[in-house]
């Protein structure tokens, strides 16, 4: 753990300025995709998670911009708004399951996006909100932190996201998390032993949405602008791709997916001057990973380890035979 945090602390100083910007957005997306995984634990895949992130972003931006709420508080309240929205949506959505839930979540997300577009006041219409208050700078004489600088915002986001991931991890490992798994694999059996599957599904949806809302707040107060297009289904496809390529069986699978794909797409391919070929290569990576790593990148380590052990076993047997 110490090594991991040391690596994350050193990381921004090894990056260029624009790569630090990418690292900020990457950290935020780690929270987004990790919160999405919590929802998938119950077996439901949503197409509205990015819109829920948008609810957090819009709410936090409006609270800070219109009502003068301090940004850290507005981010928390924005996350609360995202959770509340999820709680309301759960009543119609969890009357559905599987594919129907997927479509229902897409429809719900589109309704929210249309509301942002239709009501210029207060949501800014299709142009969205601009000049959103940034996270307040810290100036205590001996210590001055300007959060416009990506390296500073990276550490802020890292602290918030690390704390959030810890909470998500503990939830998954708790009795509640086990119940989520039970609902995923045997929902009828779970009901038969007294588990209220509707309440647990709602709980997973609300918790996942709260953290998606936190991610939205971090995004809005860093970039300084939000608009409905930013939270469209196109963006949701990226979250799905991160989760699918990384794998969702383990806590770290989606995190691996978002890190690998972001580094490849935003840093490696751009550095190679392949800007216009990126969608093609990105698509090829997706197809190849589904073909050859159907259980995601998270399965790569165990597979390599198994091969290594087979090889070592084979070598040891050969040595015994030789002697």
């Amino acid at each position: 753990m110490v090594f991991l945090f040391a690596a994350l602390a050193v990381l921004p100083y090894l990056l260029s300025y624009s790569q630090q910007e990418i690292a900020v957005l990457l950290v935020i997306n780690v929270l987004l995709v990790s919160s999405y995984r919590l929802l998938t634990l119950t077996g439901e895949w949503s197409l509205g998670h990015v819109v829920i992130m948008g609810v957090g972003a819009y709410a936090s931006a409006l609270l800070a911009k219109r009502l003068g709420v301090p940004v850290p508080l507005s981010m928390l309240l924005g996350a609360g708004m995202a959770a509340a929205t999820a709680a309301i949506l759960s009543f119609p959505l969890f009357r559905m399951k599987g594919f129907y839930f997927l479509i229902g979540s897409f429809a719900a997300g589109e309704i929210i996006r249309l509301i942002w577009k239709r009501f210029t006041d207060p949501f800014g219409g299709p142009k969205g909100l601009k000049r959103i208050d940034p996270f307040p700078d810290i100036d205590a004489g001996f210590l001055s932190i300007d959060f416009y600088e990506p390296v500073n915002y990276y550490f802020l986001a890292l602290i918030v996201v690390s704390a959030s991931l810890f909470v998500l991890y503990r939830i998954e490992r708790s009795r509640i998390g086990l119940t989520f798994h039970a609902i995923h694999w045997q929902d009828r059996l779970a009901e038969s032993v007294g588990v209220d599957t509707f309440r647990y599904r709602t709980l997973a949806f609300v918790i996942a949405s709260f953290f998606a809302g936190i991610a939205g707040g971090l995004y809005a107060h860093y970039v300084g602008a939000v608009n409905p297009t930013r939270f469209s289904v196109d963006q949701m496809v990226y979250v799905l791709v991160w989760a699918v390529v990384g794998g969702t069986a383990t806590f770290y699978g989606p995190i691996l997916g978002v890190i690998v794909l972001t580094v490849v797409n935003e840093i490696v391919l751009r550095a190679l001057g392949l800007d216009t070929a990126r969608p093609l290569i990105y698509g090829a990576i997706l197809i190849l990973s589904v073909l050859y790593l159907p259980n995601g990148l998270e399965s790569l380590g165990p597979r390599l380890r198994a091969r290594w052990q087979r090889w070592r076993g084979g070598s040891a047997a050969a040595r015994r035979e030789a002697t």
């Binding site: 909100l129 770290y252 216009t276």
Partner: protein, 436 residues
């Protein structure tokens, strides 16, 4: 599933090891890549921050292609003379994918790592991301969409395209030449580009005495099936179909649908990018008389006196030679024409520094716009005089080829009908002081 089996799935060692490896990979990639690229002392770098991939790429990529021709020509002649020294021009592109966060990242990369002196953008949604960077760094930016302008953004100029205001010229010409057409129906994608354009067309139609048969139809940008959109538009039996400022990905299927549903009336649109492809999918007869605003630069009318774009016909020929004639689009020449203006201002300023170039650009309140001398204008509409406005061409497809029919004055229309424009812009929440 037991707690034990879950623990077996993700051990602490496995999680930490993999996360650390990913972090190390990111760091290694970062250190392995060039962090700053240094131009030689006689080269000035210009940033090109626009969508080069994705649905809006048609308004980015062809512009960068045009700029490469511009740079080759200028550099072949010895470069731009600034302060008694000649400088070659090098373009540095960054694909912002029409995403606000990537626009911010791109702006910081171009300024802090590439050391550009000027950044050209498409604008729209992406300007909001670059705006804080522009203000912090004092960098001169240009946009093709003057609706991005506001009094807060003093280093943003719209020196070429005055979208959507020039759309009034197409409607004005239509009313003068086809006065029998009295009704119109209009559709647009529901986004930051579509809405101000709808307000402009509504004002232009009202000024020309053309009635709308129905309220403008806004469709979602994610729309892929345009059959119902066209059916609704045609339901009112309009004389004119107005496609507003739809992206190329929408104009093409909309025209196909109009053709397939038997529409035989007039069509007017802001753009008709890659119109040869539309003709192939419909017919030359169907597209005859189609009005839009962006000429092919092999048009003889561009050789007339007062046109400031350098060698337009040769530019078009070179563009067609390098990328194919069908690759020519609305923005193929626009960014290059902005560079003409920038180079002229930098030469006069004797400096490539953003503040000096901006001051020289606006020095006497006029500028050499591609289609003639124009005025720095915009206080009433944008809150700041940072849009270069003058004449704009009206283009009509005749015999399968786009031809300029007239150059009409935007300021002249504005002087007569500005109240209408402000009314419709206000109704749709598009005035600069109504922006979120």
């Amino acid at each position: 599933m037991s707690r034990k089996s879950l623990h077996r799935k993700i051990s602490r060692r496995k999680f930490l090891g993999t996360s650390a490896a990913a972090g190390a990979a990111l760091a290694a990639t970062g250190t392995g890549l060039p962090r700053v690229s240094f131009a030689d002392s006689h080269t000035i770098k210009i940033g090109f921050l626009a969508p080069l991939t994705g649905p809006v790429a048609a308004w980015g990529k062809p512009g960068l292609d045009g700029c490469l021709i511009w740079a080759d020509w200028v550099n072949a002649k010895g470069g731009v003379s600034i302060g008694g020294q000649s400088y070659n021009i090098e373009f540095v592109g960054y694909d912002n994918e029409y995403d606000v966060a990537k626009a911010r990242t791109g702006a910081t990369k171009l300024i802090k790592e590439d050391g550009v002196k000027f950044i050209m953008m498409l604008g729209g949604d992406t300007w909001a991301g670059a705006q804080p960077v522009a203000e912090r760094e004092g960098m001169l930016f240009s946009t093709l969409l003057p609706s991005d302008l506001s009094p807060d953004s003093t280093t943003l100029v719209a020196p070429c395209e005055v979208h959507p205001i020039y759309n009034v010229t197409g409607v004005e010409w239509l009313a003068e030449n086809k006065p029998e057409l009295k009704t119109a129906a209009m559709c647009a994608q529901d986004d930051a580009l579509g809405k101000p354009s709808v307000a402009t067309y509504l004002a232009a139609f009202e000024a020309a005495g053309i009635e709308m048969v129905d309220a403008p139809l806004f469709f979602d940008p994610a729309t892929t099936d345009f059959a119902p959109v066209m059916t609704r538009l045609m339901a009112g039996n309009p004389d004119i179909l107005c496609l507003d400022t739809c992206y190329a990905d929408y104009v093409h299927p909309l025209c196909e649908q109009a053709f397939q549903q038997g529409y035989q009336g007039q069509i007017i649109s802001c753009t008709a990018d890659f119109y040869q492809n539309i003709i192939e999918k419909t017919s030359e007869e169907f597209m005859e008389g189609f009005i839009f605003q962006f000429p092919d630069f092999d048009d003889p009318a561009l050789n007339s006196e007062g046109i400031n774009f350098v060698n337009p016909n040769e530019f078009y020929a070179e563009y067609a030679n390098r990328y194919g004639a069908s690759a020519w689009g609305a923005v193929s020449w626009e960014y290059a024409s902005i560079m003409d203006l920038w180079a002229d201002a930098a030469t006069r300023a004797g400096s490539a520094e953003p503040a000096a170039v901006l001051e020289a650009m606006k020095a006497d309140g006029t500028g050499k716009h591609a289609f003639g001398t124009a005025d720095w204008w915009g206080t009433e509409l944008f809150g700041i005089d940072n849009a270069l406005v003058g004449n704009w061409p009206v283009v009509v497809i005749e015999g399968g080829k786009a031809r300029i029919k007239a150059f009409k004055s935007i300021p002249a229309w504005w002087d007569q009908h500005k109240d209408l424009m402000i009314k419709h812009m206000t109704d749709l929440g598009q005035m600069w002081n109504q922006q979120g």
